[in-house]
Symmetry: none
Subunit: 216 residues, 4 copies
DNA sequence: GATGAATGAGGGTTCATTCAT
DNA sequence: TATGAATGAACCCTCATTCAT
């Protein structure tokens, strides 16, 4: 088994280097997202990012162009995940199937990637000065979803609601478990590292939304 | 030329001076909340606060002890408003009356005081490092509300839900209109200074919640 | 004699402060010119300027906006001196009077203000990237002088020469005693702080130029 | 895939390698002179030199010991050219022949090698901190020329002048066309890449000097 | 009470150079 | 020989805060 490796050593070597470099950039981005989530673009310090990544500030600056560029890249990365998150979701099996799946995915993402959600929320809270530069398709995707919701109402599958506001409300509820995770734990009597009950949260939001949309 | 100044000085009593000083502190606090909402504690600059207040940085520092202390005071102020906000709300007229009123008050506050809500959300998002030091009663109030909601379910007035999570969800939806106000405008096709439709928002959230809580 | 001072104390106080601030800016500019003369814009360090001015780097930055702006201001200052330098020079008494005076003034300036001349020469040597932004009138003044020289030739007062190149040559010779002052001392066997013989230099350049322009 | 490299390696003899290495050093030196001319020793960056040479910064540092050493080598190189420049000049055919030739050579060098002249001038302007370490013979050569000029005056071939200052003045005028080349173009109404009129410049300087030295 | 001046600490970033391969 | 990675020192500049009047 050593032979093939030896033969392709040169290429493997390069691949290793490239992979290592890529991994370090990923590592840096992850550290940056935590720092940006906690302090925003202006409050984040490259020293803080370097510390979180476990590297020196100089080394960090060897891998990035600037704090701003790193922020933009992190934001782009998050919007990319956002879009990927709904790959394969059932669009044609009616509101119940779709919304259950959508809510479950969003809650899971909030619980597993709170820093990403917080950084994103922080950007939005600041008026999204950089968001639209890196995510051109957000409005289009939202409008598409609005048309889908409107069609459900047309077919009598759900109560007639404002489709845009419904999306806002689902976002707000699902993202809350990242934004206010520490408060949720505090109010629930959990310790700072105890996990939140994902299934319970999903069930509660889903029930509220599906019942809330029921035709009267 | 000194005479008019001396005369006007005599006319200003101690109470006036104290009031004037208090007004300036209020003015500074308001400016600080906007700056803290936009940049967080670390990202906020005392120069930025001074600029927003229309005073010099030196003068600002004459009136405050430190940026941290100003942040804490602003946070205390916000939690005070939060508590005041539900003065006189009907606790005994059933869920529909209470929740309609509660949602309406919260939405109105988000639309009229977005900076306060954003600063508060930022603090929570950071893990609320200072919040609990300045707001001891938050958990108690939340638990009280949970008991009220539980009692409604006991009486068959609403579907049985997790009372704590219901509160989280109502907070999330109502505060969203401060947190993501700019995105809401963007997605709605509004200009950055166009007002959001308060009545419509209140109606949509209220309908979703009340329907969502209906006993099946 | 104390009375008037006491009466105008307030104004004198303010004037003193303003004057002190102005003097410090002058002092900083002088230090900067020496540093810029020695190292150019890019090679100059604000630490070096602060050291030469005998103040801390932080204090320096309190008085300037940026290194670039300080460079531009210094350059503007120098071009201003340049223009002032020829106030009251006799334009209408023929080439001999004019050129003698002009050469004497330029040599004197080079010997008394070598750093100013060196900084200026450095800027020109780099292609004058900032010079034309701060000195719009240089070309016009040069062309005016060219017309004057041309007129002298028309009147047969001097040999016909290229007026522009004559100016270049006079500049070059007179400014050389700032640019290569240390070499001039070294070749003359003088110590680094010995003064160059101004009268002798003026006499030699003047003789070369006036003889060189004589009609044959 | 390694074969062609190995083959070509065999073809490259030691002399070739050494020559290639020497050519690269020459190339680097040329790039360095341009960078040093524009920014001085302290303002020059090894990155800038590497860019001008079309190689990586790492490769540059593989070929040089330090920026200082490269500066010193470039300066040595220039003083070598300086000395070579007057090979074969007629020392014994009188002032007119000598000075005409000398001025023509110096102007030509300034026009063809402006970076070399500018870098040299910059060094001199800084007080020549490194020049005398690399160019021991400069004073001797200058004094020799002074004796020659003095002899011409003794023989009545030229007016009696200070021989040292005469040399300064010829240097200043001829080198000016490298030092202030951009200003000369600007004042002449030429574009930044238009050539200066060498013959005209030589003629003007020569006429001024020869006339200026004429016995009255 | 109020304000220009001042400052030590730290901000993001680039530098010439060395390391490791 | 050649090169990507790494680094300590230094860069210009801003920060929250205090001083001095």
């Amino acid at each position: 088994m050593a032979a093939p490796e030896a033969l392709s050593l040169r290429h493997v070597g390069r691949g290793d280097l490239a992979r290592k470099r890529g991994e370090l950039r990923d590592h840096i981005r992850a550290a940056a997202i935590v720092e940006f989530a906690e302090h925003g673009l202006r409050g984040a310090s490259t020293q803080g990012i370097a510390d979180r990544a476990g590297i020196s500030k100089t080394k960090l600056h060897y891998y990035i162009d600037s704090k701003e560029e790193l922020y933009a890249e992190a934001l782009t990365h998050i919007t990319g995940i956002w879009a990927d998150l709904f790959e394969g979701i059932a669009l044609d099996k009616g509101p119940e199937a779709f919304l259950s799946d959508y809510i479950a995915r969003k809650v899971r993402f909030s619980l597993t990637h709170p820093a990403e959600v917080r950084m994103f929320t922080g950007e939005v809270m600041r008026g999204a000065p950089m968001l639209h530069a890196v995510w051109a398709g957000s409005r289009e995707a939202t409008l598409r979803a609005s048309r889908l919701i409107g069609a459900w109402a047309d077919q009598g599958l759900i109560r007639r609601v404002d489709p845009l506001l419904l999306q806002f409300h689902i976002w707000a509820m699902t993202e809350a478990y990242a934004v206010m995770a520490s408060e949720a734990r505090f109010m629930s009597g959990l310790g700072p590292d105890d996990p939140l009950d994902e299934a319970h949260i999903v069930a509660e939001i889903t029930a509220l939304v599906l019942n809330g949309l029921r035709v009267q």
